[in-house]
């Protein structure tokens, strides 16, 4: 009972705190006065913008917002890649040198795209300079890039000018991600997460064995990892490792931290369009999807593995930590895939098939609360399609937020939703066709198919979790997932900006009695159906071959 109660409290805490942060996000990205913040930060932000040579004025086209985004992201990546390739062995106590080129490239792209898929063992590959200067740096700037895009899209839908990328990026850091990360880091530190530049410690265990204690500046790293929907671990074991997630309390707070910013972003959307009923209904929609997934996964983990009934009873503890137990590990798996964080507090590979099914479903939909900034953007794309479909059904001109939804919007929306399956299914099919040794499958049968599909779904959705038994540190995996990472990040960003800016330029209409209202329970239910049908139909065949087949095997 206790785990279920704690799960409920955690989700309730997200719902209760989202409006306050939503209000803050609205003020930050709509340029509203924030006296307590402005006094300190305005001179600094203005000075910094002036130093980089930007006047902070809004871009006049989607392209003018996109260009500085692409240029700066390329340079962020180049800086991190250089650090990973040229890591000087004399600078870190373990004497770790530069990474192999394909691994360095994959790691850089993975962190730059807010994904943090890791094909390396970080504590055995990266010194503190690389962990801080490449990984932590990219975690902050990729999350800020996501937030900037999310609010540029929200501005377009609410009829405002698209904004200035540099200004958005800077304010996302100074007013949201940095202060929030510092607070969370302080909390984690008090709970036992290390924060030190002292070298990893080689010790002799009680029985005389050797053990490496991978200490480091973990607390701050961990904070932005969770809050920024990054998910890349300081250690390979990620949030299962006691140095990243030492107690039950840190586990619950880390679960909250994954959800809070995407939930608050949806709340902020309602404030932008002056209709909080609309945003509350959207929040209710994604929370309902999250809740259904969570119950499925938590029940599956609680019931345990029937194959092992001869030897043991109780929940599925394989690959899990005793401090969290089966149920809260199930909750985490659903939250981490729904929010595109990708941090794990136990092995998803060893989770029950229904948990893997839920996780994959979340990766396919990309809106179950959703990623940093991108979550609300994808959600609005689904809403546009629902508006279009219901408009067709009732024979009215489809309208959303006082603007007509016409051919260009539907074309952009369809393109955005097609990018994802393209970067998941095609490379997965190629890899599976290449045979088990190319794929590096570690678990036989239908589970092996899940391993391959999951890896690309996680890459293209910019999530970063994985069915980690997969032997993915190969050139094939590094290069093909890099393509999915980049395609799943920057193509939708470009299309979303174009869609939002095009939408803004349409004439605003006064609502008439004939206008189909989108802030009703009925319309929200239709949106849910559109979401599930589009998501499920595209991917149903692979779900049937993977987790559904595995679940049936276990049940028989």
């Amino acid at each position: 009972m206790l785990p279920w109660l704690l799960a409920a409290i955690t989700l309730a805490a997200v719902a209760l705190t989202a409006p306050s942060l939503g209000r803050h996000l609205f003020e930050v990205f709509d340029g509203r006065p924030q006296p307590a913040w402005d006094r300190w930060l305005n001179p600094i932000e203005d000075g910094l913008l002036r130093w980089i040579g930007d006047n902070g004025r809004s871009a006049d086209s989607a392209m003018a917002y996109l260009m500085p985004l692409l240029i700066s992201n390329t340079l962020f990546g180049a800086l991190a890649l250089t650090l990973l390739l040229l890591q000087p062995p004399w600078l870190n106590p373990l004497g770790l040198g530069g990474l192999r080129w394909d691994l360095a490239l994959h790691t850089t792209i993975s962190f730059l795209t807010n994904t943090d898929q890791q094909h390396l063992v970080p504590e055995q590959s990266l010194g503190n300079l690389a962990q801080l200067g490449a990984m932590q740096f990219l975690m902050f700037v990729s999350a800020a890039t996501g937030l900037a895009v999310g609010f540029a899209v929200i501005r377009g839908f609410s009829g405002r000018p698209i904004g200035s990328f540099h200004r958005d990026l800077l304010r996302a850091l100074t007013r949201v991600l940095i202060p929030a990360s510092l607070l969370l880091a302080l909390f984690l530190l008090v709970c036992g997460v290390p924060m030190t530049l002292a070298p990893p410690l080689q010790i002799t265990t009680l029985e005389g064995g050797q053990q490496l204690l991978p200490r480091g500046p973990i607390a701050l790293f961990e904070a932005i990892k969770q809050l920024g929907e990054n998910g890349g671990g300081f250690m390979s074991a990620n949030s299962a490792h006691p140095y990243e997630n030492p107690t039950l309390l840190t586990n619950l707070v880390s679960t909250w931290a994954m959800l809070i910013i995407p939930a608050a972003t949806i709340d902020a959307f309602g404030r932008f369009v002056g209709n909080r009923r609309q945003s509350n209904l959207l929040l209710a929609l994604v929370f309902a999807l999250l809740l259904i997934g969570a119950v499925v996964a938590m029940k599956a983990e609680q019931a345990g593995n029937p194959m092992l009934d001869r030897w043991l009873s109780g929940g599925n503890l394989q690959g899990k930590e005793l401090r969290f137990g089966p149920v809260l590990s199930g909750l985490w798996a659903v939250v981490t895939t729904g929010t595109m964080t990708g941090a794990v507090n136990g092995s998803i590979d060893a989770a029950m098939p229904l948990t893997i099914l839920t996780a994959l479903f979340n990766l396919f939909l990309q809106v179950v609360v959703g990623g940093q900034g991108t979550g609300i953007a994808y959600l609005l794309v689904f809403v546009l399609l629902a508006v279009f479909l219901t408009g067709l059904m009732v024979g009215r001109t489809p309208e959303f937020l006082g603007r007509k939804v016409e051919k260009p919007q539907v074309v952009w929306a369809s393109l955005i939703l097609l990018i994802h399956p393209l970067f998941v299914l095609i490379p997965a099919a190629l890899t599976l066709a290449g045979g088990a040794s190319l794929a590096g499958i570690s678990n036989p049968g239908s589970h092996g198919i899940s391993q391959v599909v999951y890896e690309y779904a996680s890459a293209a959705a910019n999530n970063g979790s994985g069915l980690e038994g997969l032997a993915d540190s190969t050139r094939w995996w590094n290069l093909t997932t890099s393509a999915s990472l980049l395609g799943g990040r920057f193509l939708p960003i470009a299309a979303l900006l174009a869609l939002a800016e095009g939408f803004r330029r349409k004439p605003a209409l006064e609502p008439s009695p004939g206008t189909l209202r989108t802030d009703t329970g009925l319309f929200t239910a239709v949106t849910a159906v559109v979401l599930v049908i589009l998501g499920a139909l595209t991917f149903f065949p692979v779900l049937a071959l993977g987790p559904i087949a595995e679940a049936l095997t276990l049940a028989s």
Partner: protein, 191 residues
């Protein structure tokens, strides 16, 4: 705006944000850590004399019969449907049975996620006490009194169920032995 000018801007932005997110916020956090929680900040280390013997949060592997054993580690990614998992669990169960534990607790049979799970369940700890009492020639009651001192659980927000910290328990076990006899305990058997 020319490409060169845009690149220059991007370059300045990159340097600025690198400095901000790597140096400006990390250094004060490191300083604060030394001030607020110096023990946790450096890894919650456990010392015996001058020597660091481990970390309170990090589990160690134990193979000697004279110590409480931790959870197995090494194959956390075996899928629920993988026959290897069944084989592994069966082998672990029969090892425990030949060591006198008829129905080993589930956490003694299933791999931890991190490989360094510091805990085992109360049941898993109690099952091992008769063996420890025999190996160390200590009264069972004395060992049972030791468990609550190393128990962590929901009330301390450490774990979802009452669990035992294996490393601190084993350290206490060694101290118990060295205080009850004048000699230090014999070197434990190596795997």
């Amino acid at each position: 705006m020319s490409i060169a000018a845009q690149l220059l801007r991007g370059l300045r932005l990159t340097l600025l944000l690198w400095f901000l997110t790597v140096v400006v916020i990390t250094l004060p956090m490191l300083g604060l850590a030394r001030l607020v929680a110096p023990d946790a900040a450096t890894g919650s280390l456990l010392r015996s004399g001058d020597r660091v013997v481990g970390a309170r949060l990090i589990g160690q592997g134990f193979s000697s019969a004279r110590y409480l054993q931790s959870r197995p580690a090494g194959a956390p990614n075996l899928a629920a449907s993988n026959p290897e998992l069944t084989t592994r669990v069966a082998a672990a169960a029969s090892r425990w049975q030949s060591a006198g534990v008829a129905q080993p607790a589930a956490d003694l049979l299933l791999d931890s996620g991190s490989g360094v799970d510091p805990h085992i369940s109360l049941a898993a700890a109690r099952q091992q006490l008769p063996r420890l009492a025999r190996e160390r020639q200590l009264p069972l009651a004395e060992l049972e009194r030791l468990i609550p001192q190393h128990e962590e659980g929901p009330l301390g927000v450490q774990a979802i169920e009452p669990v035992v910290n294996v490393l601190t328990f084993n350290l206490a076990l060694d101290q118990l032995a060295s205080s009850s006899t004048t000699q230090s305990p014999p070197a434990p058997a190596r795997p």
